[in-house]
Amino acid sequence: MKKLTTPQDFFDYQSEVKKSVDPKKTQIIICAGSGCLAYGTQKLIDGFKAEIEQQNLQDVMDVRASGCHGFCERGPIVLISPGNIFYQKVGLKDAPEIIEKTVLNGETIERLLYKDPQTGEKIIREHDVGFYKKQQRFILGQNSQINPTSINDYLAIGGYGALAKVLSETKPQEVIDEIIEANLRGRGGGGFPAGWKWDSTRKAVGDPKYVICNADEGDPGAYMDRSILEGNPHTVLEGMLIGAYAIGSSEGYIYVRNEYPLAVTNITLAIEQARELGLIGKNIMGTDFSFDIQINRGGGAFVCGESSALFASIEGRAGEPRAKYVHATDRGLYDKPTCLNNVETWANVPLVISKGAKWYQSIGTENSKGTKIFALVGKINNTGLVEVPMGITLREIIFEIGGGIPKGRKFKAVQTGGPSGGCIPEEYLDSPVDFDELTKLGSMMGSGGMIVMDERTCMVDIARYFLQFLEDESCGKCTPCREGVHQMRVILDRICEGNGQEGDIETLEWMGQAIADGSLCALGGSAPAPVLSTIRYFRDEYEAHIKDKKCPAGVCKALITYKIDSETCNGCHLCFKPCPTDAIAGEKKKLHTLDQDKCIQCGACYEVCKFDAVIVE
């Protein structure tokens, strides 16, 4: 492959690549994100390829293993383009039929179509599916248009065009001004304006300057950064290159979780491909601008998503944060000026540059521009990744895009912002989603996890869950976080075990405040948030645990009893085998009984009963 030595050289090569795409050739696009691969999608991809080869149809159709399409609930997902025909829950045996009927004869296959749960109507095209209708997928939408392992696919949709544009006609300071004007705010959690960060790094004294991509996505229930890295690694590289050019940096790092093997593979390959074309390396497109990127795999520590801990980890030390009297933009990695943004932020950069700050500003709310990708998970019908304009309401996301709560149960709360965030109850569902509104509600945008909870979720247990997580992940350096979070968890443990005491809620409140005030880094500073927000909105549930010794949601083991309902039990015997303590007695086809002395509340009988005859009290 030849190196591109001028921006014009690049544009020529790009139009060559665009011309080589045959628009008449049908693309069978199979989602091969980690979510769908977990369904066994690789076999499906191989199956399609083998079938096409066997029937000698290579000239008419292609199989494209693409990045994540977002609708994980319905995987494996297959898109047929042109036509945008959307097939869901596709199995290996469906492959020959799809080729025969849909690709060759233009017929749709009814049983593979998505059925609208409200109207019962079968939907043919992807953009008509309720899950996709309200989304604006500027970033995620590119995933299905490309094979992430092909740089030419990315070039064909205009990729690296924004880089060529800035290298040929824009001064570094003008790039920064454009990003500031667009008001692109950091997608990693804090929402700090990216342009200001770039500007400070550019103006800081020190050499070299570093540009880093934070891909240490650790919030439980959040996987959008992984999907971008897996599905469209070049757009992240392009964003970093533009940032590096603007800042005046020649060295970059991508710090990525080792638990994301596919993301590591794809981004590694993307760097090699970009280097071969001369898009990464020395004198990019023949200009004075040189930039190279290294990949660093994380060691599995949540705190390393924090900037100063991340730098320590790249330097080969334990990932402990330090006090930040001096900003990373002045002294970050190896004590040099460093600009750290997360994956989604970098992925927004080419978009801002190619479409312009004015266009970008037209999307979103007054102080939060553009789109945000959320991982919509938990007790929700349509689990998946959604990209929505800032300002959309929680209700629209959960009930229109997400399709509401499974089994017709009642919505209780939505948790945003990961372990540093909070739980938002139903009365605020009509609040617009943006950086500032979520903070007002006692939660935060965070990196984009959105976990839906229903009436069967215990809010005290959830608060305990997050504290347990943070206690495990606390690096142990500062006392308020190391000891304080532990002590709060001890109190929550005892509340969940039925030993809660009068005054526990108040103790949690003042301790939370003290930990927030006294901790060194953001992990400790925001650690009490899940407890404080659940107390704020669900105080009655805490009180039920402490005063009445009851868990209203039926979750906390010490406070519940399982019973067999004499009216609904038909003696099917299904609960017999799973019971680990032989607590269930009774003959087949006769009413069963449960021995409370033997019962250990494991929930096995409850889980298997098909007639709702096991009840929790």
């Binding site: 980690s34 979510g35 691969l37 977990a38 369904y39 994980c72 609930e73 995987g75 996505e217 650790g218 919030d219 439980p220 229930g221 959040a222 996987y223 992984r226 080792n258 638990e259 994301y260 660093n296 795999r297 994380g298 060691g299 599995g300 520590a301 949540f302 980890s313 790249i314 330097e315 080969g316 030390r317 334990a318 990932g319 991982a375 998970v377 938990g378 007790k379 689990t383 998946g384 948790q415 996890g449 976990i451 909870m453 979720t457 959830i462 869950y465 997050f466 997580f469 690096c475 799973p578 680990p580 494991c602 929930g603 096995a604 889980e607 298997v608």
Partner: protein, 154 residues
């Protein structure tokens, strides 16, 4: 072992900044990080043994104990949690008679709960030696353990 570790360190140009990836690769080769390996990394990378030990014990991904033939990683993400993972944790601990993070005496199973795997649509999800098992229940866990037991002893 000496040659393996030397080769890994050289792959990273003996650069001290790559201590974490070096340990990751060593663990991949040896299944865990025995004391001898830590000493060799310290020697070849010219990093003090105390720093190697600090890093090896700080990050979750590293194990100083031998690990089982089947490494069961049960996702502890919030989505899996609200869908009932705690019941499955209890069940596995009771069945295998080990606690979270431990290995059975016969070195057959290592069971650990891990941070979010990002396969939330499949929650509760468990990965056994890189193979995903989705929508886990107590009953499905039993079936899986039975199957692994048969395979493992075959």
């Amino acid at each position: 072992m000496e040659n393996t570790i030397k080769a890994i360190v050289e792959k990273y140009d003996s650069n001290k900044g790559f201590l974490v990836p070096v340990l990751q690769d060593v663990q991949k080769e040896l299944n865990y990080l025995p004391r001898e390996a830590l000493d060799l990394v310290s020697k070849f990378l010219k990093v003090s043994i105390s720093q190697v030990f600090e890093v090896a014990t700080f990050y979750k991904a590293f194990s100083l104990e031998p690990r089982g033939k089947y490494q069961m990683a049960l996702c502890q993400g919030t989505a899996c949690h609200v869908r009932g993972v705690p019941l499955i944790v209890d069940h596995i601990e009771r069945t295998l008679e080990i606690k979270d993070g431990e290995t059975t005496e016969d070195l057959m199973y290592t069971f650990e709960t891990v941070n979010c795997l990002g396969a939330c649509a499949l929650g509760p999800v468990m990965v056994v030696n890189e193979e995903y098992h989705g929508k886990m229940t107590i009953a499905k866990t039993d079936k899986l353990l039975k199957k692994l037991g048969k395979e493992g002893n075959a």
